[in-house]
């Protein structure tokens, strides 16, 4: 199976659409940074306007940490959308080009094939997050430097630079688990729908519904429902980090990853090819 994974990764990086996807992510980062550059101070002034009436505010809040925090907010929709579109294509393009048939006509087991798709989805997602973190950090800290981080979550929170850095790092890690969940889901949707456009629509719908359902109160059952887990990375920006909640959310999210993967594999094996 290692050979299969290596071959799949080779194919992914030989295709232009992979680089278009990475370019899209990079362009989004550039937009965030440009927006911060041109309007960041204004926005902060608006945020803190009422405070400045009663307080002196000394220091630079428009810094690399804040810009990275804004980049992190692309975890809500932009980044998962791009990831889901690219990753689902790993399978739907095989259906479209019928190369799935070519592969299945070789001495390759169905379970190995589909497991490879999931593994490659995970590897690719991890690479994307590393790419995002590396490029965003480089640009943000080079252009905007260091400083305290301000967020508004359960109050106006100020974090000193070293704390901000560790929180941002942890938030990226948490966001990575979330992106893995979306990535796995997109493969499972690709197994269900097979066709490229329908799978894209399903992915977009899944993303929109997750974001909408996040706002609904499901009571205690909500703790287990996956839309309620998609904001876990934000907990790292509460002044007092709710660690038990974070651990719980991540465990449940990983359980969903396993569940969706297993469901997808079983469905794929059961179905005929072609």
């Amino acid at each position: 199976m290692i050979a299969l994974i290596q071959a799949e990764l080779y194919l992914i990086f030989r295709q232009k659409r992979t680089y278009y996807g990475l370019a899209a992510i990079f362009i989004i980062e550039l937009f965030i940074i440009a927006g911060s550059w041109y309007q960041g101070n204004e926005v902060i002034s608006v945020l803190l306007e009422n405070l400045t009436r009663s307080f002196y505010l000394e220091g630079n809040l428009l810094n690399g940490h804040l810009v990275l925090y804004l980049v992190l907010n692309s975890l809500w929709f932009n980044l998962p959308l791009i990831i889901m579109i690219i990753v689902s294509g790993f399978l739907t393009n095989d259906y479209k080009d019928r190369t799935i048939q070519t592969i299945m006509l070789q001495s390759i087991k169905k379970i190995d094939y589909i497991l490879t798709k999931y593994v490659v989805a995970i590897v690719f997602t991890l690479l994307v997050l590393v790419f995002l973190m590396a490029t965003a950090s480089l640009m943000a800290y080079t252009i905007f430097g260091n400083g305290d981080l301000i967020t508004y979550l359960n109050g106006l929170n100020f974090f000193e630079s070293n704390q901000a850095l560790s929180r941002i790092g942890l938030a990226f890690l948490s966001g990575t688990i979330l992106m893995l969940f979306y990535s796995i889901t997109s493969v499972t949707l690709a197994i269900i729908f097979k066709e490229i456009t329908i799978t894209w629509i399903a992915c977009i719908l899944f993303l929109i519904l997750s974001n909408l359902l996040l706002k609904i109160d499901f009571g205690i059952m909500g703790d287990w429902f996956f839309p309620k887990l998609i904001d876990t990375w934000q907990y790292f920006f509460y002044y007092n980090i709710p660690w038990s909640k974070i651990y719980f959310n991540h465990i449940v999210l990983m359980a969903y990853i396993i569940l969706f993967t297993t469901g997808g594999i079983l469905l794929f094996i059961k179905r005929d090819i072609g």
Binding site: L47, N50, L51, S54, Y56, E58, T151, F158, Q163, L214
Partner: protein, 217 residues
């Protein structure tokens, strides 16, 4: 004769009033404060405000006579505009009168209570209540009502009989503070009713000062 008596009485009253305008103990404190030409301190600030979460901030504080206090830090700092004027610049800048209100015991010390009323319309406080330690010549408590910036209560602690405080505690109110929603954060669990009702927010600031350089006359 009658008119002469009237003039004499009015003059006496005026003299009495003018001689009672500024309390002598307060003047002593003012003189002590005037002796300080410049001073530098390492400051530690703790903020206890309902809607603000901020770690303890360390910064350098620099005071020069007749100039506003300045602050410097590598980190971001948030400093209330009111309440940290322990040099009493604002108080002594404008003409005022004092009215003796008796004494009060605070932390084992007997404090002299004075009301301070500005005589200058330019003063930005409406009324002040000062509680003085007349033995050590220090202002220990100040209850200040500003014209536009709300009220605050200031507690000052000193090392021995120094004129510059080593600890300030400021209790204050913030009016009409609007926190913009949905900015850079989660937009769930926002209780708008709760926010509306709590437009007036209270907070406490603790400022610890370690004076490193004090230059006096």
């Amino acid at each position: 004769m009658k008119s002469l008596m009237l003039i004499l009485i009015v003059s006496l009253i005026s003299f009495h009033v003018s001689s009672q305008e500024i309390d002598s103990d307060l003047l002593t404190i003012k003189e002590r404060m005037d002796n300080v030409i410049e001073a530098r301190a390492a400051a530690k600030l703790e903020l206890d405000v309902d809607f603000i979460n901020m770690p303890v901030k360390n910064f350098d504080l620099y005071f020069q006579k007749s100039k506003p206090i300045s602050y410097s830090s590598d980190h971001f700092i948030i400093i209330p505009k009111r309440g940290l004027d322990f040099t009493w610049n604002e108080l002594f800048k404008h003409q005022f009168m004092t009215i003796y209100r008796g004494t009060e015991i605070h932390e084992g010390s007997t404090l002299k209570v004075l009301n301070v009323i500005p005589l200058d319309k330019k003063a930005d406080y409406a009324i002040m209540t000062l509680k003085l330690d007349t033995i050590k010549n220090q202002i220990r408590i100040a209850d200040i009502t500003t014209k536009n910036e709300g009220s605050y209560l200031l507690f000052l602690n000193y090392e021995n009989d120094n004129i510059l405080p080593s600890k300030l505690t400021v209790q204050f109110e913030l009016e009409r503070i609007r926190i913009p929603l949905n900015f850079m954060g989660k937009d769930t669990e926002i209780d708008k009713e709760k926010l509306k009702n709590k437009e007036i927010k209270k907070g406490i600031i603790f400022l610890y000062l370690t004076w490193q350089e004090v230059l006096t006359n």
